[in-house]
């Protein structure tokens, strides 16, 4: 059974503070959508609304054709994996996993069989009789996953499920989560503040800020084509160079920086969105060259990154970062130009 999740026009408050504003979100059948943002952006609130631990002030939540908006949490049938795992400390692994089945009135033998099958699937067959206190972090995470999956929910939700694990385990577990989610074809919502984690496992990612979704798209698009300055900054476009279009020169636009310096942007590669705009790039989106049509600069401090050198560059538009090739190191104090690489730069409205 695969269904889609729809949130429309959701506004939510904590007391008098508005935490979500007119939020729309559609998660397609079998799709995994991550809600990504820093703390306080509303991602966890969104999840708690869908789970039924909070009530929206306005708007509706639908799972398939079921309206969840006013349904109590225990009647929603959503599998939830908590940041703290929230395993019942007084129950064994098996009883933890069987808890949801018990609530559904499934009898002893059948319950045990289904729980054990699921425990095997997450690789904890030998630990079924242990208590959570005697498991490692990764094992607890697997129990939490098994417990959410065994009730075969039409929707799975994860609240920062990996933030309490060490780096290596995090990578292993997210692969595992993705595998299980795809194998069951379950629709899923995944809340995290970790960009790499969100991008690696999601079909689509919603980047949130201050109770709104800033951009919702595939990781590929978000990574290379952020739609606004917030998302650009979030995904690592460290340089935001303000520009003003001054003239058209055939198949190029000439733009100047506030502090002087003119840049020619070929129309073939760049679409200027407005008169005042921002050139957003990562450091590798600017090529450091001795001369050419680019931003004039004096190279400052050089640091070694392994794959490239990075320079702190003094430009008329302020200090920016650019990467230069390993084969051609420049000395500090050299005058050079920074040439924007079209496929790694974005022009955003100011």
């Amino acid at each position: 059974m695969t269904v889609s999740l729809s949130l429309s026009g959701i506004t939510a408050h904590y007391g008098t503070t508005k935490v979500l504003e007119d939020l729309d979100l559609h998660v397609g059948e079998g799709e995994l959508v991550s809600l990504l943002g820093s703390s306080g952006c509303g991602k966890t609130t969104t999840l708690r609304l869908v789970a039924g631990f909070l009530e929206p002030t306005t708007g509706s939540i639908k799972l398939g054709d079921r309206d969840l908006t006013r349904l109590p949490a225990h009647a929603r049938n959503i599998g939830l994996v908590f940041q703290t795992y929230a395993l019942f400390p007084h129950l064994t692994v098996r009883d933890n996993v069987a808890f949801g089945l018990k609530q559904r009135g499934i009898g002893g033998a059948e319950r045990r069989k289904r729980a054990d099958t699921m425990i095997d699937r997450v690789g904890l067959g030998d630990f079924a009789d242990r208590y959570p206190a005697n498991l490692s972090g990764g094992q607890r995470q697997r129990v939490a996953l098994a417990r959410a999956l065994v009730i075969e929910p039409p929707l799975l939700m994860f609240d920062e499920p990996l933030s309490n694990l060490d780096a290596k385990l995090r990578v292993d577990m997210r692969v595992e989560i993705r595998r299980l989610q795809q194998a069951n074809g379950t629709t899923a919502v995944y809340v995290t503040h970790d960009q790499e984690e969100a991008f690696s496992i999601s079909d689509r990612v919603a980047i949130m800020n201050a109770g709104r979704i800033m951009q919702l798209d595939t990781p590929e698009v978000l990574y290379s084509r952020p739609a606004n300055a917030f998302v650009a900054d979030f995904v690592g476009f460290e340089n935001m160079i303000p520009l003003r279009a001054v003239a058209e020169a055939g198949d190029a636009v000439r733009a100047e920086m506030p502090g002087g310096g003119v840049l020619t942007l070929p129309k073939e590669h760049f679409t200027v969105p407005s008169k005042e705009f921002i050139l957003a790039t990562r450091p590798e989106g600017l090529l450091v060259a001795p001369a050419g049509d680019g931003i004039p600069t004096t190279l400052g401090l050089r640091t070694y990154l392994g794959r490239a050198y990075q320079y702190q560059c003094d430009t008329p538009g302020g200090e920016i970062k650019a990467n230069g090739p390993l084969a051609q190191p420049f000395e500090s104090g050299t005058n050079a130009v920074l040439i924007p690489q079209p496929e790694q730069c974005c022009l955003l409205p100011a």
Binding site: A51, G52, F53, P72, A73, H74, A75, R76, N77, I78, G79, L80, F82, T84, A86, L87, F88, P89, H90, L91, F99, G100, K102, Q103, R104, Y131, P132, A133, N134, R147, A148, I151
Partner: protein, 275 residues
């Protein structure tokens, strides 16, 4: 000075105080009971043979068990409400529970003398309501002792259980709900089992406290409702039967220590977090 030596040197005065003024005197009290010329256990045989002494022991047990039971029920329900209250109301309620707890036992028992007396408020009220035609004698009964004991120990139970309930993470009840547990099922299957160790700890405090109390049975039970504490005092300071008093003391020590040890072992067994 090595760290170990320094550690022992710092601990020495406190250990000395406990050893000299608690260890020796209490052991000497216990030792006295075995010194009977008729044999080491003659005092105990006499104690358990005496109908009067057994009546006192059973009465004390009964009062302690009833007090504990009522305190657990009242304390748990109240603590639940306190724990679920919004922060401001919660701190007010905690103040309301702490205040009687820190007020002396004599003062708190005295209040019930005023309430339950022949011309007390309760009799006045019942007469005024026409429920009785002449004042009831409520003082110096097991009832008066028990109600004052409940009054004494309910605040302790509330405070203990508020701590216990607040220590149960909200995540767990939410997890239960997400797995389909109704609020009642979540309470029965998650909250209650997790609160059991705390309930046991609270019960032990109340049981041993009421079993060994002196001032309350003295004021509200008097001679008629002699309990272990008042009995011990009477033997020691009125009849000057120190051996007999020591035997009562020994029985009290055995009952309370057994309760504490057995129940804390049980609490630890039932406490999943300790593994």
């Amino acid at each position: 000075m090595t760290p170990r030596l320094r550690a022992w040197a710092l601990s020495a005065p406190a250990l000395f105080l406990v050893a000299l003024f608690l260890g020796l005197p209490v052991l000497s009290t216990l030792a006295t009971t075995f010194g009977d010329p008729k044999g080491p256990f003659a005092q105990y045989a006499a104690f358990f043979d005496s109908r009067f002494r057994m009546t006192v022991l059973w009465r004390t047990m009964e009062v302690a068990v009833i007090t504990t039971t009522i305190s657990v029920i009242v304390g748990f329900m109240t603590a639940w409400v306190v724990a679920k209250s919004p922060a401001r109301i919660k701190s007010l309620l905690i103040i309301a529970a702490v205040f009687p707890l820190l007020t002396g036992v004599v003062v708190r028992s005295f209040a019930w003398l005023i309430i339950l007396g022949k011309n007390g408020i309760l009799n006045d009220t019942l007469l005024w309501l026409g429920l009785i035609s002449e004042p009831l004698s409520m003082l110096y009964t097991q009832f008066s002792v028990t109600i004052a004991m409940v009054y004494l120990f309910v605040p302790l139970m509330i405070l203990t259980l508020v701590g216990v309930l607040e220590a149960i993470p909200q995540d767990l009840t939410e997890a239960a709900a997400s797995l389909g547990a109704t609020p009642a099922a979540a309470f029965r299957q998650v909250v209650l089992p997790m609160a059991v160790p705390g309930l046991i700890v609270g019960s032990v405090l109340v049981f041993t406290g009421s079993f060994t109390s002196y001032a309350t049975p003295q004021l509200l039970g008097g001679e008629r409702q002699m309990m272990m504490g008042t009995f011990l005092y009477q033997r020691a300071m009125v009849t000057f039967d120190w051996v007999g008093a020591s035997t009562i003391a020994a029985v009290m020590v055995v009952v309370t220590l057994t309760t504490v040890l057995v129940m804390s072992k049980l609490a630890r067994r039932l406490n999943p977090v300790a593994g």
